[in-house]
Structures are given as structure tokens and as C-alpha cells.
Assembly symmetry: C2
Homo-oligomer: 239 residues x 2
């Protein structure tokens, strides 16, 4: 059975303007690979209602899961929850279960649960909350879309809350060999190997360091014996 598929949607002007370097994509990619869920596509869009809605609809129709990051805080530019609701024509309002979580959190902190903070309890009808052990304000899952925060520590905690509940597939086995030859010398034997092992994915990632040209050749697959056999042939070709 093929692995479940996934896409990620990163939401935020600050990534597209170059102000902030996104790190959530790399984190999620690693976690999904371990879980046996194939991340097939990532999109980054601005805090624009129609862009977010279009992307959510396109990705949720095409993949088994969609993971979003960003835009669920208390400020005026946090419009993700409303966009997700609109994408699925769900109603959205402050929900009692989410409000109770925020109320308890801010009471402990001695902070007022004002109108702005209450926006973080706006949850689409039919969604399940995602636990946020870092800063309380929950994410949520609606249909196959998992809506999470953009702040990396909170994003990571929410990923940890969500993944155990999802069905994974076969974890990808990945082996790497460093070959100190120009990629143009590696290409021929590697191409032949890719033809001989059609179920494996092989990539070559060139580097140049201290005047040495080389590449890391990565062989990936779900069948450990096949990966090992291909690595042995690669080793034989370059030693």
C-alpha cells in the first residue's frame, strides 16, 4: 500500500518579504518522513484571504493531509482560521471549549482575556482542537487540514500533538555515500543504477569544499534490502 501523502501550507507575509527565515517546513519534512507520510508539496502564501482559501482547497483535494503554519494569533493579520472555515463553508465563532482553555491559561498568568485574545478561540464548526502545551491557544483539525501556529516552538509542539493520531506508512530508509568526484563522473553509473532499481529514489547533491568537487549520493526506499543492494553496487562502481 502506498504511503499517505501530505502538503504543507506556510502562511505569512514575513516569509515572502525575507524578514523571517522559515524553519517549520524543514522540521515537518523530517517528522513526516519518519512517520511514513510522503510530503509532496509545500506552498508559501501571504496573509491574503483569497490566496489562503485557494491554496487550502487545492491542496486538501489533492493530498491525504494538509498541514498549515501561521496566522492563528490575536492580531488583525491572523486570518487563517476564518479562511479555513470559508474554504470548507463551515461556520466559525468563539467556541466554548477553546474559550475555556484560554480562560484557564490567562487566569493562571494573571492576564486579561481581552477581545483580541478571544479571537484565538474562534474555531470552525466541526473541527477538533490541537493541544498547545507551550502557549495554550489551540490549533485545530478540520477535515484533512491541520492548522498550527507559526512560532517554531509552538508549531513543533502542535506537530507532536497531531502526528500520533495519524496513520503512517512505511518509514523511508535513506542512505548516503559521499563520492569525491565531479557530479559529471557520477551521473553515468548512478543513472544506470536508477534504471536497475526502479522502486528506489536516487539523488545526487553536489558540493565544492576546499577545492574538492564531490557529491552526496542519497538512495531512498522502503525496502531495506534493496537500498543496501543498491548502495553496494554504488560503492563497487566508485572504489
Amino acid at each position: 500500500m502506498p504511503n499517505p501523502t501530505a502538503a504543507m501550507l506556510v502562511i505569512g507575509d514575513e516569509i515572502l518579504s525575507g524578514r523571517t527565515r522559515d524553519s517549520n517546513m524543514h522540521h515537518l519534512a523530517g517528522q513526516l518522513t519518519q512517520k511514513g507520510i510522503d510530503l509532496r508539496e509545500v506552498r508559501v502564501v501571504a496573509d491574503e484571504r483569497s490566496d489562503i482559501i485557494d491554496a487550502v482547497q487545492a491542496l486538501s483535494g489533492r493530498y491525504d493531509h494538509v498541514f498549515t503554519s501561521g496566522g492563528i494569533g490575536p492580531t488583525h493579520d491572523d486570518i487563517t482560521a476564518d479562511c479555513i472555515a470559508a474554504a470548507f463553508e463551515a461556520s466559525i465563532d468563539v467556541r466554548e471549549d477553546a474559550r475555556a482553555i484560554l480562560a484557564a491559561h490567562y487566569e493562571r498568568a494573571g492576564t486579561e482575556l481581552n477581545t483580541a485574545r478571544l479571537r484565538m478561540a474562534r474555531i470552525p464548526a466541526g473541527a477538533a482542537l490541537i493541544d498547545n502545551p507551550v502557549s495554550a491557544a489551540p490549533g485545530f483539525t478540520l477535515k484533512n487540514v491541520h492548522v498550527m501556529a507559526g512560532v517554531p516552538s509552538v508549531f513543533q509542539a502542535m506537530v507532536e500533538s497531531v502526528l500520533p493520531g495519524l496513520t503512517g506508512g512505511a518509514a523511508l530508509i535513506s542512505k548516503t555515500m559521499r563520492i569525491d568526484r565531479g557530479e559529471g563522473d557520477i551521473a553515468g553509473p548512478l543513472g544506470a543504477l536508477a534504471v536497475a532499481f526502479p522502486d528506489l529514489s536516487m539523488g545526487s547533491y553536489p558540493f565544492q569544499k576546499d577545492g574538492v568537487y564531490g557529491a552526496h549520493v542519497v538512495i531512498r526506499g522502503t525496502d531495506a534490502a534493496q537500498v543496501d543492494a543498491a548502495m553496494a553496487q554504488l560503492d563497487a562502481a566508485f572504489s
Copy 2:
């Protein structure tokens, strides 16, 4: 006149598997902001022919420019040039001008220009070459799509080759204020300010450091006087 718009397409299994952390997106975002070209969307896709073609067609129809990274090396998984040609129904073959660049480079290096390396001279008909001062093998521009390498040093050199030839717009002016209050306290005044200055974009990026909750509030726009006026009102609201 509104600024020209752009999208980026990152091509490569290694980003989606979590093996490699992409850095080209952040670099390009910063360069385009300086140039006055608005980066509106980024997509990351795997080394899959149909995924690349679909994304190129969608993005090149929607934005003034598309910048791609990855997949133009000599190995079997480098399929970007062929996909770009297919996306625009252009023919593609080894082109003499590109072959001459490679031949001169490898002759200087004393390296054979073998079949694999010659693949890097496959350029779609009608494309203009993009200079690669780092490792010679050129990128190319076909229609509004600029095709560049994935290796960061080469990608950056190619961006430097391409950008001076493009028409930019008004550079975005961006000012940041750190406010040591919870985002929920910042949201009200900031929302009112966003309404008062509809031409500016305002974002709030929360942090938590050494037990202090705060946010960096960023105000962006092309009119310096407006940005300054809004920053002064923000300052007055929180001092």
C-alpha cells in the same frame, strides 16, 4: 503603478524529505524586496515531471516572473530544463552557445566533457542564457521563467546575473519596533492603526525570551512618510 509580482518554484526531493534545508527562498525573498518586486507565492515540488510542469504553467500565468531553483545538473534526476521546455511546448536539445561555455570550462579544468556533463547544455529553443560565474553551466530564461541552480552559491550568483536586467518597482520600506507586551495587548491598538493606514502592511511577530512575552511589530510600505507617521503613532500607543 503597482510593483511587478513574482513566484518561486523550488524543485527537489531533498527539501521535501527533510534531508536538505532550503536557503534559496530566504535569499531570493530579500533580493526581490530590495528590487521592488513582490514575491507573492513559493511552491516546493519533487523531481516529478508532471508536478514541475503543472506548477510552472500555473505560476507563469499568474505572476510577472517565476524563479526556479534546482534540477539543472548532470544527473538523471535533473529534469527541470526538459520540464520547462514541455511547459511552454518549446523544443530542447544541446545548444551550441551553452556547449561552448561548458567546453571552455572543462578544458581549463582538464576534465572530460562527457555525455552527462553535456546534458547541462540542453537549453530550450528561444531561451536566453543566465551567466554562472561559479561553475560555468548556465541557467536560462524562457518567457517569464528564470531557471537557476539549487546549490546556494550558484543560485545566488545567478540571481545576481538576472536581477539587473529586470524592471523593479518601489522598494519596500520596513520598520520594526520591539514591544515587550503580550501580543494580545498589542492587537487592539495595532488593528486600529492598520485601519487608519490602509496602504501599509502591518505584522506582529511574537517572541518569548527569558520569560518575557513580546512581539516585533513590522510596518511596511512604499511611502516613507506614511511608514514614519504610523511608527510614531505606534510608539505613542505603547510608551
